[in-house]
């Protein structure tokens, strides 16, 4: 699995930075789809860290489009992923419309399309929202996350189909412009039972559109990571709006309690998974490292770190991933420059720390991506004393080389 030496990274979220001039012939692919969210949870203690990120270094040629951006950098796993997603969506829509046509024979075709697309989009949004925390709780779910942006784009397209058919059906061919009608036909904002639920859905669709339209890594780079990540955190606002849209629309019109129970169960599932994952992260943050000697803090024992893996500790309000590999210890920031993926949950592959989300790689000694990639994360000075890893809480500038501590140096003293 010699990724670094190939000089390629063919993940769907692909390299937002420019290749080194020395590697100008390296293959670069990027792709399009709804974004991976920078943090999977708004409950994370350090969710605001994204704001610290600077824009990726400018292109040597000053032209971001020189990355050879492609619409989608297809690979086998992405193809399999998309086939499964489209199969699932087609299955759901076919069954819903087929059974509805049978069970509710007088429902019009437009009504069935609106209901099928809307419910499919809402269900899919639940899946999108659950993938992040599931991956944090169990890494076996990571393949679901890798191409999650495509799932997001499909969610938007289904939502758009729902919205477009609804606007055509309810607002077109009238005495007002359809969009004006959508926004003005019901203005009972002060009444909960009469609240204009369609406006909530419209607003959610606008946000989904913005996320889908900017899901390409071209936009991640050009909007700058903080803005892009803030925009994509709006998926939670979208979810809240859609809960309102469903509760104040569908649930007020339908009589079956099954729909209310299903909506509630979906919300509880999303919330529970986020709380579970957040509590796991919080445990790291609450584990304050107190023993300080010569400016270093006692982080963990060498033995507690599995080979090629990391222990994650929180120092000075920042999570640090301490990796053990090839008889050495290195510490770098836990936050991937791409989409804030948890590097500490990654592995050292070919001598590179590999992010579990999209496979972005960093040299543990420097925190820099191997050429031709140019992302850099902060590094931390480490030392090993009596089988324990000590780290200097002060981060080095991203990309600063720090010699790894050798595990054989156990005799050293603080």
């Amino acid at each position: 699995m010699n990724l670094r030496k190939r000089g390629i990274r063919t993940d769907d979220s692909a390299p937002p930075q420019d290749p080194s001039p020395h590697f100008s012939s390296a293959r670069f692919v990027t792709s399009s789809a709804l974004s991976e969210r920078p943090r999977f949870s708004p409950f994370l203690a350090n969710a605001g860290k994204a704001a610290k990120f600077r824009r990726a270094p400018a292109s040597p040629r000053g032209n971001a489009m020189s990355h050879q951006y492609q619409a989608i950098g297809w690979n086998r796993q992405k193809r399999v992923y998309d086939v499964v997603v489209l199969t699932g969506v087609a299955l759901y829509i076919a069954l819903f419309i087929g059974f509805s046509a049978w069970l509710v024979p007088y429902a019009t075709a437009e009504t069935l399309i609106i209901r099928a697309a809307g419910s499919a989009a809402f269900l899919l949004l639940h899946v999108v929202l659950c993938i992040g925390p599931l991956c944090r709780l169990d890494s076996r779910f990571l393949p679901l996350l890798y191409n999650r942006r495509h799932l997001g784009v499909v969610t938007f397209l289904l939502g758009a189909a729902h919205g477009i058919f609804a606007v055509i059906q309810f607002h077109s061919l009238g005495d007002k412009d359809p969009l004006v009608s959508l926004l003005t036909s019901n203005q009972n904002f002060r009444s909960l039972p009469d609240f204009p639920f369609q406006q909530l859905g419209f607003l959610a669709l606008v946000i989904l559109f913005l996320m889908a339209a900017t899901s390409h890594d071209y936009w991640l780079r050009n909007l700058t990571p903080p803005i892009w990540k803030t925009l994509h955190m709006l998926v939670y606002v979208t979810y809240a709006l859609l809960i309102g849209h469903v509760t104040l629309g569908l649930l007020q019109s339908e009589t079956s309690p099954v729909l209310a129970v299903a909506t509630g169960a979906g919300f509880v599932t999303v919330l529970s998974l986020h709380l579970a994952a957040a509590s796991r992260e919080r445990a790291v943050d609450l584990n304050k490292l107190k023993t300080v000697t010569n400016g270093f803090v006692d982080a963990c024992s060498v033995e507690s770190i599995p080979e090629k893996c990391a222990a994650v500790v929180s120092v000075s309000g920042e999570r640090v991933a301490i990796f053990k590999f090839d008889g050495k210890i290195s510490a770098i920031s836990n936050v991937c420059r791409h989409q804030n993926g948890p590097l500490g949950e990654g592995r050292v592959i070919d001598g590179c720390v590999t992010c579990p989300w999209h496979g972005y790689q960093y040299l543990p000694e420097t925190g820099g991506s191997p050429p031709p990639f140019t992302e850099k994360v902060s590094t931390f000075q480490t030392k090993i004393v009596d089988g324990r890893v000590w780290i200097d809480p002060k981060p080095k500038a991203p990309g600063t080389r720090v010699e790894p501590s050798r595990i054989s140096d156990v005799g050293a003293r603080a």
Partner: protein, 249 residues
């Protein structure tokens, strides 16, 4: 677990792939069950039909006020010996401007039938009304049925009779507002008119169209209306005023 997934490698590690295959199968099963359950629990809809794409030719006498109606000889109520078809234009528009020149006259027109229960409407093809003869048909007598206080919902007649199904309720509210605003005759749909469901055309106390701005905010929500009911042929009119319409809690 020692396996580690990297998305851009050709294959996922076998253990992870097995797990994901199981998850995907479960998700697909869940999607199938959800689709069937959600389809099953939908509210049943009243039998109403819009014969979209099926144009017919109709001949009868135009009654222009309070709402456009084509009185067609033949079937219908026993008293009148005629059917009374409400007329609307295409889209969310009333047919008033199309029929005004033909008030009281016998015409031929092309249109599409929309029907629910014993009520039929025709969506008139624009410009298809042609004069057959000036001779008019005598109006059937109207019958006062008395004063009623009814609970129900104000909706637009076109959607309620079949262009949309469901053509009532909150989800349909904006559409009903748009339709009524565009001139589609408003009807009051109640489940308890002398113990039976009924569809009553809403008028003012003089049996003229009720000014729509006076009740537009109350469309497609439960309301109570106090008024007198008049029956002309098989058409029921509910004569009321804005102050006699109140929202139900």
């Amino acid at each position: 677990m020692n396996e580690f997934y990297v998305g851009y490698l050709p294959k996922a590690p076998s253990g992870i792939a097995r797990c994901i295959r199981a998850v995907v199968v479960l998700l697909l099963i869940f999607a199938a069950i959800a689709a069937i359950v959600f389809a099953k629990v939908q509210r049943t809809l009243a039998p109403s039909v819009f014969e979209y794409g099926k144009l017919g030719t109709f001949e009868g006498t135009i009654e222009a006020s309070p709402y456009p109606i084509l009185i067609v000889a033949g079937a219908g109520s026993a008293e009148s010996g005629a059917s009374r078809y409400l007329l609307v234009a295409e889209g969310k528009h009333g047919a008033d401007s199309q029929v005004v020149a033909f008030a009281g006259k016998t015409v031929q027109l092309r249109g599409t039938r929309i029907y629910r229960d014993n009520q039929t409407m025709i969506e008139v093809v624009s410009g298809s009304i042609s004069l057959k003869r000036d001779s008019t048909r005598s109006q059937p007598p109207s019958q006062e049925l008395g004063i009623f206080e009814l609970a129900g919902e104000i909706v637009d007649s076109k959607c309620y009779l079949g262009v949309m199904n469901p053509g009532s309720g909150k989800v349909h509210r904006d559409c009903a507002v748009r339709c009524i605003s565009g001139g589609i005759p408003p009807v009051f749909a109640t489940n308890d008119f002398n113990g039976s469901p009924a569809i009553l055309l809403l008028t003012d106390l003089h049996q003229k169209p009720l000014p729509k701005e006076t009740f537009l905010k109350l469309v497609a929500q439960p309301v109570r209306i106090h008024g007198s009911v008049v029956k002309t042929g098989e058409t029921l009119y509910l004569k009321t005023g804005p102050s006699a319409i109140s929202p139900l809690p």
